[in-house]
Each structure stands twice: as C-alpha cells, then as structure tokens.
C-alpha cells in the first residue's frame, strides 16, 4: 500500500520533532495550557522538557517575566512540585508567590557567587528529576552554555527557564525566547485602583513554531486571554484617564475597608 505524499511529509515532520526533543508529554507530567498561544507551538503543545528563555533588561521586565513564569509554574507544580530558583542579588519576595496560587515554601532559592557557579548549579539541578522546574537568572548566557542546559533537560525532562538579564541577547540553544512587558491593569468590576495584572507576551522565537504576540491577564489564579476580554480592555483605557478622581475614590474605599 502506497501512502500519499502528504502522509509521508507529516510522518517525517513528526519524526524530526521527536528527534529534536519535542516528545509528547507523558500522562504523569502536568501540561501547560496557554489557550490561543498553544497554536504557536509545534504540535500545539507547550514544550515541556525544554529550556525557555525570557529576555528582560530592566527590573520591571524581570518582574513581569517572573510573574508570567509564576503563572506557568502554578499549573506545572501541582500539590507536591518543587522549584529551584537561582538568583543573584535581586530577591524574589516569597510571600508574593502565594498570590499566584503557589506554595512559596516549595521554592528553593540559591544565591551563587558568580556566573560560572550559577551555570554549574543550573546544569546540576536540571539533571535531577526530583525538581519540577529550575529557574535561573543569568546574564549574557552563551550558545555553548545554553546547549549544555538543553542537553541536561532532554535527559531528565525537568523544565528549565532562563531569565536572561541582558540588553541584546545573542543566539542560544533554548527552545523558545519570550519577552514579557507589563500593560496597564484591568479594573476589577469598574472599581478604581490597580486591577487584574496584564502583560504583553511576545514569543520572539520558537523552534518549529510560529512566533507571535498576545495580551494575557492574570485573574483569580489563572490566565485569561485578550480575545475573551476585549470589552474590559476598552473599559480600562477609558477609566484610567481620570486618575485623580480614581485615587480619591480609592482612598475612601481603603479607609472604609
């Protein structure tokens, strides 16, 4: 029986992906569902067992990336997962993680003395199947260094995230490259003050996938995508113009509360 040409091409594509490390997630592993963003990934599945890179130069961008990451981790960690967060001088404030539906005491924080130590620690951690994910805040990671991390991940199937703190990042072997920027928040029930967190999520590069940009909100411990919330976005822009009145109202509310 001769299969059609498109079948062969499809089969070959599938094999290629498998060889490149895009193995369909096993049942035991929790998956990440990113709604419309899923369409950007090969096979429409968020690549677990891979190293993802977030480009962020300023403290604001690092925080935005960390928040988005915390959102991802909340679906990944489940009840028993553990995450190692390798960070330099800057500090994740653990109580804030609770707002993302995470248990902050399940996070281990490592403060390495220098870049080489951070890389060593990240590689060792990625090799250990005891962790759910490893987050490393690194500065100017080179291609070779990132490839070592990717190789470690392919073996252990732990998820790796790099927050790359550099202005112009070079080529890396990471499976994807993201940039997260904060957008003005969405008011809650038209109330003044800061509402739901909102980010501009840019997928700059994805191996075998289609890059793109999306607006994502964080509402009640889950992601909400821009297509569902167009009305709210419009509302927020209109509302945020009258700042002084909002603050005054807000103040009264806080006093009353």
């Amino acid at each position: 029986m001769v299969s059609s040409q498109s079948d062969i091409v499809h089969q070959l594509r599938h094999d290629l992906l498998r060889l490149q490390g895009f193995v369909p997630a096993r049942h035991v592993l929790p998956t990440i569902d990113l709604g419309p963003i899923n369409r950007a990934f090969p096979q429409h599945v968020f690549p677990t067992a891979a190293v993802h890179e977030f480009i962020s130069a300023t403290a604001e961008e690092v925080t935005a990336a960390s928040s988005f990451l915390s959102g991802l981790l909340s679906s990944l960690m489940g009840r028993a997962g553990t995450v190692l967060w390798i960070t330099g001088r800057t500090h994740i404030f653990p109580p804030a993680l609770a707002a993302f539906g995470l248990q902050p005491h399940r996070f281990l924080f490592l403060h390495p003395a220098h870049h080489e130590q951070a890389l060593w620690a990240m590689e060792e951690a990625l090799k250990s199947p005891a962790l759910t994910a490893v987050v490393g805040e690194l500065r100017d990671i080179s291609f070779t260094e990132s490839r070592r991390l990717q190789l470690a991940v392919e073996h252990s199937r732990v998820m790796g995230f790099i927050i790359n703190r550099s202005k112009k990042a070079g080529t890396t072997a990471c499976v994807s490259r993201w940039r997260i920027a904060s957008l003005p928040s969405i008011p809650v029930d038209d109330l003044p003050g800061i509402g739901f967190l909102r980010w501009q999520v840019e997928l700059l590069r994805i191996r075998n996938g289609k890059p793109g940009a999306w607006e994502i909100q964080w509402r009640n411990t889950q992601f909400v995508y821009a297509s569902d919330t167009v009305d709210h976005v419009a509302n927020s822009q209109q509302l945020s113009t009258n700042n002084e009145q909002l603050s005054a109202n807000n103040y009264q509310l806080t006093k009353a509360g």
Partner: protein
C-alpha cells in the same frame, strides 16, 4: 567496658622545649630561672643539671656555684603551658578524650582504643616513641584509674602497662607523694614512718581521716578506683565518631578516599542501627607534622547514605593537604537527628520536598556554592515586610503559619528600600509622579495607603504608608512614605516591583 587510662609525664618538659631548637643543650647542664622575692631561682633543670646536683627551687647562685658554666635561660611558664596544650591536641590521635594535667603531664582516657594499635603494650609503646621522637623525655603508664596511672608514670623506674585490676597491687610499694598529696600531708606521713603506700592503705579509715584529713582518703580512693575521677577533655568528645589509624602515613588522594569510605561505612552502619541520620559531618586528618586537616559537610535532611555523603566529601576533597602524610583519620558527626526508616516507594515521581533525590541535590549544591547559599522561606507572623518570612535550611521544616494571600505583596522586593523624589498633592494621597534613578514615572493608578507600623517590641522607628502604583507604561511599583506627612521629615522610598 573496663576503663583504662594513660598518664604521660614530661619530666623535663620546660627544658626539653627550650632545647628543641638547640639540641646541644640536652648534653650539658641547663636550667631556667625565674625571679622570686628578689632572688633568682631555678624553675626547671634538665637531666645533666640534676646529675650535677641542681634541682628545681634552688637559688640560681647556688646552682652556679655547683656548675660555673651553667647554661641559663629565662623561664616562660605561660608559653610552656600553651605548648602543653598543643601537645594535648596532638595526642587526640591516640584517643578522643585527652585532658591536661598541669604543669607537665597529660591524662588520656584510652578505654577501647588500644585494640586499634594491636594491644596495650604496642599502644603505649607507640605513644612513648612518637612523643620521644618529638624531642621530649617521657614517662607513660597505663592503669585502671587516672590516679594509679599518674603515680606509676612518675614513681616507677620503668613505667608501663599495668594489667586490668592489678593497679592497687602496683601502687603498694610507691611513696605517699604518688597519691598527688599536698607537700605537708606527705611530709607528715614520712615523719610518722609511713614511707610506702602499703604501710597505711590498710589502716582504719577513721583514724587516717582524723590525723591527715579528708584529702588523703579522697586521693587514695581516686587512685584505687573507689572514687570516680572525671577527666575534663580539651575538646568535647563527639558521641558519633569513628577513627582509623594508619600504619604508614597516607599521602595519596586514593588512600584518603579509601579511609573516608571505611569511616563512612562504619559510622553510617551505626547511625542506621540507631535510626539516626547526620546533618553535619567533619572529616579530620591528623598529619605527621602535628597539623590537622579537616573538611566539613552539612546536609539538608538527616542522612546515613554512604554513597551520598561520600559524594559531598568528594567535592571538598581537594582542599586536604597531606604534606608528609596523614597517620590518623577521624570522622565526627556533631549534628545528628532521628531518621525513621521510610517505606521504599516504587514510583518516586511527585515526592516533592520529601524526595531523597532532592535532598541529595540540595546537599550537592550547598557543598559547592556554600552552606548558607541555598534555602527555603517559611512564613512568620509579622506584618513588617522584611520580617514576614524567614530562611530555613532544612527541607523537613513545615510552615508554622499559612502564607497570607489577603494582602498584595510585590514579587521583587528590594533588599534595601531606595530613595525616590515624589510629588504628592494632598496629605495621605498617593503621589502623582515619582523620580527613581533619573527617570520620572507618572502615576496613573494607585492603591493605598496600607499602613504598616513598626513592631516596637523588635525595633524602634517610624511607620510606613505603602502605596501600590502603576505608571503610564503599565509598570507597577510598591512605594512607601516613612513617617507622618505633617512631620515635614517624611521620606519616600521605592520598595518593590509588582509583575
């Protein structure tokens, strides 16, 4: 186990030490002098000087009359005592329990140590020959009590091992001074013709007490073992300790690894039997030249896994400098915790913080990066942001209180709040704009104030009024004003970033 003690007596300790760098002094009369009541006295004399009739506590002028070309040096009693302390530390290679016996001796509790050297005779011989090789005249005796060992080391011409339960018999022919008595008690005994212990040991205790006081009976009891004598070790003895003496000094890395593995195996076996695991371990190598090399590891969970602990030590192994060789290895576990056996799980996925592999990874990272560099955070019941969580280095510790989700906290908290310049319209209103690092942020939305008071029982200071603000780019910050608006002394700070 039957207690055994060794007393080491350095008969010419001070003069021997002064002669270490001038060996020719050993051959001719040599004394040390101190000044006492305006006179120069001999405070120590070496063997040739004693042969010429010069003894301790003699006037230096009299000594000079006996030996005109007498070699004299100033005594340094404090330094000598420090040297004795060093020597005691060095003797830890023979037994973990070494006590000082000033001014010129050491007492060792050697219970259960001698078999490692192949018997008591060899053990004592090894002690004497090793100390003699360091340039000291030494007498050493082993007996069942510290008192008997002390007496035998000093008052027997050829001191040695007294077999178990024979010490009282060995004491009988010795003079009363051998009981560590005051000079006047000993003198009174001699005046009464009691020149040997055997002459008064059988006398009724009541009359001995009446004539010579309680100290004589006490010292007699200590020597015979009727009364327990406690030694005060120079270093606290770890209850979890394994030792491995080597016949030949070890210089190679392979040799050190073999030694470590053997020690770990025996220590872990013992821990396993007692259902305990170690949290901290020290591996020590006693070098031939008297120095000690040591490496320390700590674990995040109690462990008695030989392979895991060995890996941790392996990361530090390179820092051991064997020099001329290491002749004794010791492994101590200063921190030990209960470790109940857990049931083996067939599926280890999702074990979380209880996962053994996680503990092993954490230990590995901590050993390389630094013990304080890896930790978790646990919530505490404090409102002040800096105190709202504490570091914990243990993986087993559970949060004592729940994490708060009713207050908004920034994901990034600056370790030290940074000063900002602010334009605020009216008291207690959120600011309109603020300047941080030369960049002006126009504030579009704000929440607050949330007042957090100083916890006066911990720290004095002003309260903080926190505002969550969002600027026109959509970036969110945590600002606070320190102090009251009306005080005119308030300051604004940036304390964190929201995602």
């Amino acid at each position: 186990m039957h207690k055994r003690f060794v007393s080491i007596w350095f008969r010419y300790f001070a003069t021997d030490w002064f002669s270490l760098h001038q060996p020719e002094r050993q051959q001719r009369p040599f004394v040390l002098r101190t000044s006492s009541h305006g006179r120069l006295m001999v405070s120590a004399a070496n063997a040739p000087a004693e042969q010429s009739g010069i003894f301790k506590n003699m006037a230096l002028a009299d000594a000079r009359a006996l030996v005109p070309d007498l070699d004299v040096a100033d005594d340094e009693p404090e330094k000598i005592q420090r040297v004795l302390g060093k020597l005691a530390e060095w003797c830890i290679r023979f037994t973990p329990c070494v006590a000082l016996d000033p001014p010129d001796g050491l007492l060792l509790d050697v219970t259960g140590c001698a078999h490692l050297w192949g018997g008591e005779e060899q053990y004592l011989h090894d002690i004497v020959s090793k100390i003699s090789a360091r340039g000291y005249w030494v007498g050493a005796a082993m007996a069942d009590t510290p008192g008997a060992a002390w007496a035998l080391a000093r008052y027997v011409s050829q001191p040695g091992v007294v077999p178990p339960r024979q010490h009282v018999h060995a004491l009988l022919p010795l003079p009363p001074q051998a009981l560590r008595l005051n000079a006047d008690i000993a003198e009174r005994l001699h005046k009464l013709g009691l020149h040997r212990i055997q002459q008064f040991i059988k006398l009724p205790r009541a009359s001995l007490r009446k004539r010579f006081g309680l100290p004589l009976l006490q010292q007699l009891d200590k020597a015979t073992g009727q009364e327990m004598e406690m030694l005060v070790p120079i270093q606290p003895v770890e209850s979890y300790q394994e030792r491995l003496p080597c016949l030949e000094p070890i210089v190679t890395a392979t040799g050190i690894e073999i030694a470590l593995k053997q020690l770990l195996e025996s220590l872990c076996l013992r821990l396993q039997q007692e259902q305990k695991g170690l949290r901290k371990a020290v591996f020590k190598g006693y070098r031939v030249d008297g120095k000690t090399e040591q490496i320390t590891i700590a674990t995040s969970r109690a462990s008695h896994q030989v392979a895991h602990l060995f890996k941790l030590f392996e990361l530090r192994m390179a820092s051991i400098e064997p020099a001329l060789g290491i002749d004794l290895f010791a492994l101590e576990a200063p921190v030990v915790e209960d470790l109940l056996p857990v049931q083996e799980k067939m599926w280890k996925a999702g074990a979380g913080l209880d996962d053994e592999r996680l503990a092993e990874l954490v230990d590995k990272l901590a050993t390389k990066v630094g013990i304080g560099a890896i930790h978790r955070y646990l919530p505490t019941e404090h409102h002040w942001p800096e105190r709202s969580c504490t570091e914990s280095s243990s993986l087993a510790e559970e949060p004592a209180t729940a994490w708060r989700t009713d207050v908004q906290r920034p994901l990034y908290l600056l370790p030290v709040p940074e000063r900002i310049e602010v334009t605020a319209p009216i008291p207690d209103y959120p600011p309109m704009l603020f300047r941080h690092r030369e960049k002006v942020h126009k504030i579009v939305k704000a929440d607050g104030p949330e007042r957090i008071e100083q916890e006066w029982w911990l720290q004095q200071g002003q309260h903080r009024d926190y505002y969550r603000v969002e600027d026109e780019d959509g970036s969110r910050y945590w600002l606070f004003r320190l102090g009251h608006y009306h005080d005119k002394t308030f300051q604004w700070f940036l304390h964190g970033y929201f995602g």
